[in-house]
Symmetry: C2
């Protein structure tokens, strides 16, 4: 199937790119999104690097209007990124309202424009606790809306929806993914902070999967 990958430059979507290629699909393009998060400037070059390594065109959609119109500490206009485990209540401040809905909608229009039939999002089960727009009760109707709202009946593929992040790390290791060229940290500093929710989750994924973590953390 001709597919488009939503590629943020994080671990999950990067493994999704390589997994989709390994499954034999034709990846016609990867789509990155600049939504003015504090870490876009760190993760998007990783996404481009991975796409180039895979020989797949990489495009970026500018959604920086979110910085003015949306409330979230993940955005440049928001407050400090909280530290601690993802599931803690304070991580809710990093939720960007309906972000995955917007990303999927944009990617669906893009997929139709480049004549792709499928669209891959790397949402996984560990995302579900905090993000309503990562859960299957969002993803299933969203997929139905995208199929009904496009001429080509674009399919939303969610290969990791039942996996945990450590399973994705394991799959990436199998596929020899270069994790040094992926970015997670929400703070977007020079190196991964090691303390924010997504750094904590990244560390845990490698540890639980019993893989060496190649990431350099500040703490």
């Amino acid at each position: 199937m001709k597919t488009v990958i939503l590629l943020s430059g994080g671990m999950d979507s990067t493994v999704a790119l390589w997994h989709t290629l390994a499954e034999g699909h034709e990846v016609v393009a990867c789509l990155g999104v600049d939504y003015a998060s504090k870490h876009n400037a760190k993760e998007l070059p990783m996404a481009r690097w991975q796409a180039e390594k895979a020989g797949v065109p990489f495009q970026t959609a500018n959604l920086t209007f979110m910085n003015q119109l949306f409330q979230s500490d993940l955005l440049q206009s928001g407050g400090e990124i909280p530290e601690g485990h993802y599931e803690e209540e304070n991580m809710k401040s990093t939720v960007v309202p309906f972000r995955n809905g917007i990303l999927l909608a944009v990617a669906a229009g893009f997929a139709e424009s480049v004549e792709a039939e499928g669209l891959v999002i790397a949402a996984h089960s560990g995302d579900h606790a905090i993000y309503p727009d990562c859960r299957e009760d969002f993803l299933a109707p969203m997929a139905q809306a995208i199929a009904a709202g496009t001429y080509a009946d674009v399919s939303v593929l969610r290969p990791f929806v039942a996996l945990r992040k450590e399973d994705i790390a394991s799959r990436g290791a199998e596929l020899e993914v270069d994790f040094t060229h992926t970015w997670s940290c929400y703070k977007g500093g020079d190196i991964h902070c090691g303390k924010c929710g997504t750094c904590v989750e990244r560390k845990e994924a490698f540890a639980i999967a019993q893989l060496e973590d190649p990431t350099v953390y500040l703490a």
Copy 2:
């Protein structure tokens, strides 16, 4: 209910704004979208004019990435706007892939950010023939996805989904909407061309509703 209106500056969404106010809802904001269509520069000032008249804040989301990434003659990067009736095959070239999906997704995130519980889209039955993303089999799952994907369970309200455009014109006349401050023409010239699909549809709506059409057309 606290609502956000997707306000393009066309007839339908303008009547939707005044209809929503007349129904007693609190309209906390109107959202316009600049997606680099040939007529955005004409219709967005109309949207702003109507919102200001209604005393409602007006915001614009910049989605001009579509000009580079999407294929459509409606966009500045696209070919000539075809002339003739909406239902003709050549009008398909003006479809912007999954446009309403993207607009609804962006408006859903915006609604959550401004603490609105409802989101109004003025899609009507006349749109359905050509646009897959105006039909109820798209709108229903999209509404479900938006409710599931937002903390506030944002509701998508579609007051005109069973109406024809002439019914919307009639409702606007009842509400004394100033149609001279609405814009339809896809060509985006100085005045309405009178020949493109949306001009033809606008003329027909006034004629069938037996209303005086205040629009100045080139032809």
